[in-house]
């Protein structure tokens, strides 16, 4: 589904942040994106959600070569990618319902078409009683739940999460992670950027690893095989 070969990324005339990155993400797979702070995890995620195109190399998403696409063709690819941003990026003047429904409104769907689905999704993440609340009135964990709901509402094929448990306590973090893993089980490819080694340890039997090393290079590791007893 995602094939990346020898890509590099640099901003303007600056140094190359990512160099000769190659990996493949199969449909429905689950990966952690790891590396030291500043190793380029967020930059790699940004490339995957097409916030920035690679400076060089091949990046194929859903069968299309990203470097060959016109700017007007990118939105169609972006709609197949759900993103949970590290800073949530909720829209402060929109309610919880409106924030979550934003991708559907952007697709041009009418509210009466999606209202029931959005309410159901918010019930599922545990925010069914806060549809009309504004983000400022929510706790950090609740805001993260809204961000996750927004990322998955349009049933994306690729789900990217940047430090989804970074700003919440351990209990809520596990609950949020559980939501993401459940979505992965339903078929979405999942990539979670994290520097939480504990998290990685707990899920290493069913999640692969994309490890960014110093110098902007990447090593792809498969899920750890469970030892036979």
């Amino acid at each position: 589904m995602i094939r990346v070969k020898n890509i590099g990324l640099q901003y303007a005339d600056g140094p190359e942040i990512l160099s000769n990155i190659s990996f493949t993400l199969a449909a429905g797979s689950f990966h952690f994106l790891t590396g030291r702070c500043g190793a380029g995890k967020s930059s790699l995620l940004r490339m995957l959600y097409l916030g920035h195109r690679p400076s060089r190399g091949l990046m194929e998403m859903f069968g299309k070569d990203i470097s060959q696409l016109d700017a007007s063709e990118l939105p169609e690819i972006r709609r197949r990618v759900g993103v949970v941003f590290q800073d949530f990026r909720l829209v402060s003047h929109l309610t919880v319902f409106e924030n979550v429904a934003l991708p559907l409104a952007i697709e041009g769907r009418m509210e009466q078409e999606y209202k029931r689905d959005v309410v159901e999704l918010l019930n599922w993440v545990g925010l069914g009683d806060k549809l009309d609340h504004y983000p400022a009135l929510l706790s950090g964990g609740e805001q993260q739940q809204v961000a996750i709901a927004r990322a998955v509402v349009a049933s994306p094929q690729l789900l990217l999460a940047d430090e989804p448990t970074g700003s919440v306590d351990a209990e809520i973090g596990e609950r949020l992670l559980g939501l993401l893993i459940e979505l992965n089980r339903q078929g979405a490819t999942l990539v979670i950027a994290t520097h939480d080694t504990g998290l990685l340890e707990r899920h290493r039997y069913h999640a692969g690893e994309l490890h960014l090393e110093d110098g902007g290079r990447l090593r792809q590791l498969p899920p750890v095989r469970a030892k036979a007893i």
């Binding site: 993103v83 934003l102 952007i106």
Partner: protein, 290 residues
């Protein structure tokens, strides 16, 4: 709801808060320019039409000849001619009144060798050349003034009024477009994070532009609603003046139904200009950023 709005953009954005007032002023000025132009065109047109039907015959005073007898003969010739609807000699007191602004009310005026004047109202399509020839043949020295100079001036004033009015509307529209472009760019800048998020979620530039278009449509409608209040008051004042005031100037200002329809164009145009200027500005700005 009367005022449309975007469901994604905030209710008020930086750079556009005072825009309704600017649009209101522009709507008022444009409506005023159109109404003023139309009133002037109407008044001059009416004058020109009146002058088309009126001519004046001047009969020079001759010593030793009774002016009354001459005028009687002139009136006889005029009334017999098929081009003439009616003819009327201007009496001495009326003549004195006409000259009073220049010569005062002196009794000496009567001693001056002033020509005798006859006001003639022509039948529609009456043959003026034939009348002129007949008068010249019967009364050598008599002149027929068809007020061509005045009439040409009236037409020139009407033409100028039309161009001045159109130029004013054009300049006002241009100023409005410039202000809307500035406000749109400022609003877009103030929402750059939201716009970036919309793009990352999969919005096309046209979707973003549509949201800004809806927002500025609301601004335009609000501006027009404010602006039509003084326009309505001004129209009411004009209607009042033209129906009650017998003064020669205001009495000639008449506005037809079509004129009021034309005066309603600026509010409609303001909404459309606001909406499309915002859309084009957003699309152009985003295409540069792509």
């Amino acid at each position: 709801m009367l005022i449309p709005h975007s469901k994604i953009l905030p209710r008020a954005m930086l750079g556009s808060r005072l825009l309704p007032l600017v649009i209101a002023v522009n709507v008022y000025l444009a409506s005023l320019a159109i109404l003023g132009g139309l009133a002037l065109i109407g008044a001059t047109g009416q004058w020109a039409r009146e002058l088309d039907q009126l001519v004046t015959v001047q009969v020079p005073a001759e010593s030793g000849v009774s002016s009354e007898a001459v005028i009687k003969s002139v009136l006889g010739v005029l009334r017999d001619h098929p081009a003439v609807a009616q003819a009327r000699a201007i009496e001495e007191p009326e003549m004195e009144a006409l000259l009073a602004p220049w010569l005062g009310k002196s009794a000496a005026i009567r001693e001056l060798p002033l020509p005798q004047l006859v006001d003639v109202e022509l039948r529609p399509g009456g043959d003026l050349d034939s009348l002129r020839k007949r008068l010249e043949a019967e009364f050598p020295g008599a002149e027929l003034d068809d007020h061509r100079q005045w009439r040409d001036q009236m037409h020139a004033i009407a033409r100028s009024a039309r161009w001045i009015s159109l130029s004013l509307v054009f300049m006002i529209s241009l100023a409005a477009v410039a202000v809307i472009i500035f406000a749109t760019q400022a609003s877009l800048e103030s929402q750059n994070e939201l716009v970036a998020l919309m793009h990352l979620i999969g919005a096309h530039n046209s979707f973003v532009a549509s949201e800004f278009q809806k927002y500025f449509l609301g601004i335009g409608v609000m501006g027009v609603l404010i602006g039509i209040v003084p326009v309505a008051i001004t129209i009411a004042a004009i209607v009042h003046l033209t129906s009650n005031d017998p003064a020669p100037w205001t009495g000639r200002i008449t506005l037809e139904t079509m004129d009021y329809i034309l005066a309603a164009l600026p509010p409609v145009a303001a909404v459309l200009i606001t909406m499309f200027t915002a859309r084009v500005t957003v699309l152009r700005t985003l295409s540069v950023m792509d």
